[in-house]
Amino acid sequence: MPLPHAPRLARACLSALLPADARSSLLAELDHEYLTHVRPAVGRLPAHLWYWRQALASIPSAIAMRQRRRRKQTVNTASPRQVVPRQWLDQSVQDVRYGLRSLRRRPGFAAAAIATFALGIGANTAIFSIVDAVVLRPLPYDQPHRLIRVWSANPRGIARNRVSPSNFFDFRDQATGPHALESLAAFTAGDASTMRGRGEPVRITTSMVSPTMFALLAAKPFHGRTLGQSDALPNASSVVVISHQFWQSRFGGAPMAVGTGVTLDGEAATIVGVMPPAFDFPSRDVDMWVPLPERLRSGQRSANYLDVVGRLSPGVSPETAASVLSAVAARIEAEHPPMKGWGVTVTTLHESLVGAVRRPLLVLLAGVGCVLLIACANVTSLLLARGISREREMAVRAALGASRGRIARQQFVESAVIASFGGLAGLGLAWVGLQVFRASASVELPRAAAIGIDVRVLLATLTLTVAAAIVTGFAPAWRATHSTANDSLKSGRDQASGRSTRRSRSILVSVEIALTLALVICAGLLGRSFVRLTHVDAGFRADSTLLAQVNLAILKYEPEVWSSFASRALEAIRVLPGVTVAGAGAPLPLSGEQGLMRFGVRFEGRPDPPPGQNDRAYLRWATPGYFRAMGIPLVEGRAFADSDRADSARVAVVDRAFVERYFPGADPIGQRIRPTNEREFRQIVGVVGGVRPTRLEDPPEPHLYVPQSQNPSASLTFVIRSDGDPVRLAAPVREAIRSIDPEQPVFNVRTLEDMVTGSVAGQRFNARLIALFAYVAVLLMVVGIYGLIAGWVNESTRDLGVRLALGATPGEIFSFVIGRGLRLAAIGTAAGLALAFFATRLLSGLLYGVEPWDPVVFGGSTLLVTIAAVAASYLPARRAVSIDPAGALRGE
């Protein structure tokens, strides 16, 4: 563990400002106090705050001490070599103080500029910290670049399928060695299990893993040991390793947990180890790791349910490993004809984890970068406007001998002062934003636990702040040094330079408008895509319906009793007041539940398809009442009934997509089919409406429903439709299920609407955030246009007065001013449309049902931005109309 140390940044700041002779002793005392008194007494974070407070509050004294030394020096006269840097520093200190003073003199200007920077820098810091934690930072494992994922590629072109155990063991045995892989491990993403042993039975998430996985990830146990190769052998006693979190919550962190016996899904097992808190592979949800037994080697090759991760041998590239694994796949293909056409896909582990979210996050980063650019343009424009009124001041300074460099530096120091305050406030905003983001937790991001403000993020904020200071300081500095001193001193009104400043500001504001329009268009596209998505017909009715899930795989339940448990629980639920219809099924569409599987389908009277080309359908389970409770319409025939029992004729229900694909133009009722996991054929008795397999944006795919009574599923979700608020039924439904078995855990009790909403949380998050950025951009743009036009009206009071005096009507003056705003808008939107045309290509993969060049969005956004531009010029136009011509002329 590294030794605790004082906050480096605070220490460096203070160190830079202190005079050299006081530096070492003051800092030594401060550090000593921090390390030996404050930190042991109050802990890390408060101690950090204490240090920062000390450092910041000491800055004025440090500057005062410096000045005292300088005064003494004028007596003692320092050597000339030391003077230059010291003078530079002293002048900078002067500039900072001067900047602070001039900000204090104009609090309105200061507040506007700082708030603008705070918005821009804060939003960027927040998004950067998310992108950094999720995408940029290397994975928290030893030598992460050597970790890969291995998938099966199926003959129909889907590259990433899970791997069957028998294939995995072949890969492992034939591809490990110095030429390819150091090791290969398989795991399941997370299975719902029931643990009994201490207190009530609980539902936990287990992951079945190859014992080599721990060594592969270089993960050491917190207590006890990890799994070993011998734990996977056929006669080994059952052992498990538990997560740190589960150890804390279930065993109170007691070391005696290691060695404790538990019952996992009816089987006795012993806990042999606890993993450290940071170990969360394959996900944070996993409570327990159980060994993947070697006996699975003899399973079916088509049963793909393992995820596979590997570590490359030193110096081996993923491509080399891929070709070695492909050779193994080719051998398997030759020996097992049903595997014809199956290959291998290899990606890096990092890519497999974050590949799906990288693009949305980068789009957000681009959007938020736009906001910062707009903010910079705005502040520059404000600084330029202020520059006009200070032109004479600069001229005087130049006349009194200030060099161009000195004047330019002062401008940069001033924008740096503004940017620093903005950066600090932005850091605060980002912190608040991240708290809100964490609390909402509606978005599932990989590696989300690592999101926070750390040194990397602080460095990024610092970089942004410095960049913002330089970008915004450049134009005013250039302007201040290039106006000729003489002109400014002579001309009372700074006419000429005012005009050219205004031209620069007009360009800036046009850029703002362009960026804003591009951002608004992107937000519009994502928003429209999200609306489209929520209007997709999911195939069921989500209103007034409650869900409650159970997993029946507990010791006393054998598959034969699973179906009777379901029917008895349904009987108890149906008599509850407020329940109109209830059923149960698994897995539910859009639920994200594990267990949705696609099986091959065989048709009676048709020849089996050639190997590798299966007719396939998603398999779901249902009880009587399920389709009515879900609001899935019955199209033809009948739904399941109580008369469909284990010993009665075997039946199935299919959906519309199934009929369209496999019985085009024919009547499916009475036809006999079977999924390949069953031996006997089933008779199709009904056709129902289609549902989406896993996501709303998926097209409907063929589905096959089998009755729970004839092929029971251990995992089951009760679907209860009510005549009122479904949430009221939550407690009674739990009671009803417990009345069948008081020990049965009931979980995931939620409304069907919540489930559907949850399935599009990611898209909603993206759309909302980009929309938020677009709002901010529009706001900044309006402020920018307003500032420019209002400033122009102010300067042109005399001009406008003359026009009025010469007979211009107020209407003409009004449209003259508005016309200026419109002209800016026209230039800006033209550039913005061109920009958007390229920017929206970034979005193409994220849109559903909307083209990247959707004319409604493009037209609507342009209109919106133009209206905002006109609105921003409205107040200055009103002011221009109310000018009193006589007064304006006299004012000269």
């Binding site: 006081a22 002793s25 003051l26 004025p60």
Partner: protein, 97 residues
């Protein structure tokens, strides 16, 4: 200066800061303490000596401060001035009858 006097030879930047914090109940920045001590030294009220405290973690010598004769005089004068100003004074809040 009072803090320096109270600490009786054990006065250095951080101990003075702690003393003020403990007695006056308000937080003071270490930089302010240093700056003030330096000013007092310029005025000749305190003098500083570098010596090894023996307790400092890094073994570095510390700058210890103690009152000079004119510092003691100045403190006493200030204290007497204060008590003279206070003697016989009773305060009443304005705006009340």
């Amino acid at each position: 200066m009072l803090a320096v006097a109270r600490l009786e030879g054990g006065a250095y930047g951080m101990s003075v800061r702690r003393e003020i914090e403990a007695r006056a109940g308000r937080s003071v920045a270490i930089g302010a303490v240093y700056s003030t001590l330096e000013r007092l030294e310029d005025k000749g009220y305190v003098q500083s000596v570098e010596r090894d405290s023996g307790t400092s973690a890094d073994g570095r010598a510390r700058r210890f401060f103690e009152l000079t004769a004119s510092g003691v005089d100045a403190l006493q004068a200030a204290s007497e001035l204060q008590s003279r100003m206070w003697s016989g004074l009773r305060l009443r809040r304005a705006g009340r009858s």
